[in-house]
């Protein structure tokens, strides 16, 4: 059936709703090849018709199949771009290598151009004040948590300028954002009462 391979491309994207599947170079090539064959068949039918009058119905069906293939390819590419766009917002302007390997070269170029256009725009905000729109995606929450210090860590500079000395076995009330790193490092322990 005409258009089956094209539909396969769409289904492939559909199946990996979360991530992005590797660029299907071969699939695209096959759909393009089908388009070329259909186009040639139409050309032949019109140039050297085997019936009189020429069989316009089959010409029309082929024409529609070509259009459908075109639509599927563009939909495939466009929907991949939507995923790639999302990655710019999630990972920043440098693509992780494991993701880059799933993209075609033109897609990598598109990512770079998109990143550049976005950076230019973000720099221009507020009369060139500049604003990184990729950060602060959720409303700010100032959450303080109670932590116990597990080692004699020493000086800790807080964002509001306050300086505290973290001593082993002492408890502190600290902004969560500022002690998350130390909790991961095992310097502080979250005390849950």
């Amino acid at each position: 059936m005409f258009g089956e391979k094209a539909l396969e491309l769409i289904k492939e994207l559909e199946r990996s709703a979360e991530g992005i599947p590797p660029f299907n170079d071969d699939g695209i090539r096959q759909v393009l090849e089908e388009m070329r064959i259909l186009c040639q068949a139409n050309f032949d039918d019109i140039e050297n018709p085997t019936t009189d009058p020429p069989n316009y119905s089959s010409v029309r069906v082929r024409h529609m199949a070509i259009s459908r293939n075109k639509r599927c390819i563009l939909a495939y590419l466009y929907n991949r771009l939507q995923k790639i766009r999302q990655m710019r917002w999630e990972f920043g302007s440098i693509l992780p290598p494991e993701i880059k390997s799933l993209l075609s070269e033109p897609e990598v170029q598109w990512f770079t151009s998109y990143s550049k256009a976005l950076a230019t725009y973000m720099r221009s905000i507020g009369d060139n004040y500049g604003l990184n729109l990729a950060t602060d995606v959720t409303p700010p929450k100032s959450l303080y948590i109670e932590v116990r210090c597990l080692v004699d860590y020493g000086k800790l500079d807080l964002e509001d300028g306050e300086v505290i000395f973290l001593k082993k076995n002492s408890q502190y009330l600290l902004p969560r954002a500022e002690c998350e790193g130390l909790v991961r490092q095992g310097v502080l322990q979250h005390v849950t009462s």
Binding site: L32, M35, C39, E107, W110, S113, I125, L131, D136, G161
Partner: protein
Amino acid sequence: MDDSVADVSEHLDSSDNEEFTPGKVLQDIENAWLNEKFAPEILPHQSELVDCMLEQISHMEENMKKLKKGDIRLAIHKMEIDRIRFVIKSYLRTRLEKIEQYTIHILSEDDKKSPEESYLTPGERKFAKEYLANIETLFRTVALQHMPANFQAFEVDKLTVKPNLNSHVFLRVNKPVQGIIVPGTTNDEIDLTAGAQRLIQYQPIASLVKEGAVQLI
């Protein structure tokens, strides 16, 4: 020390114009943010408000540098700035998402307007054009140029996505409005009284949103 921290609100209050207090500008930005979040189409840009508020933030940050470490005001001002920045960023992100989703439609609508009437800021417009050009380049490189000769066009009409202006929105009425007609319904005209909250199609109230007579919620 207290008074050396030149205070932004007083500074602006002295203009004797209630309209331009930083608090009012902030409220206007929050309203613009909610309108933009809930309106299906892109709304006229509010860059004067954004620019003004970002200036307030810079000013405040300058003043904060004069405060001593540990001053209680440092943390409080920072919290407030974080909140304002979030609103501005979320507002601009929402616009950018619409620009990406409806690029062709938004650009062609904008072409019909004079630069002063444009819904986009110059920065957004430039971004929209580059975004569209980049997609066209990718489509051509990967696919279109390899297609049969009469199928190579980048068919703008077929690629245009338009927002659904008939979609339903929640609103609160700021100024009373009478005689709204929802197309395709047999109902009588709808009157909106101040303070009322309604769920209604966007199309018939679109201009009211832009005028500020209603607020999307």
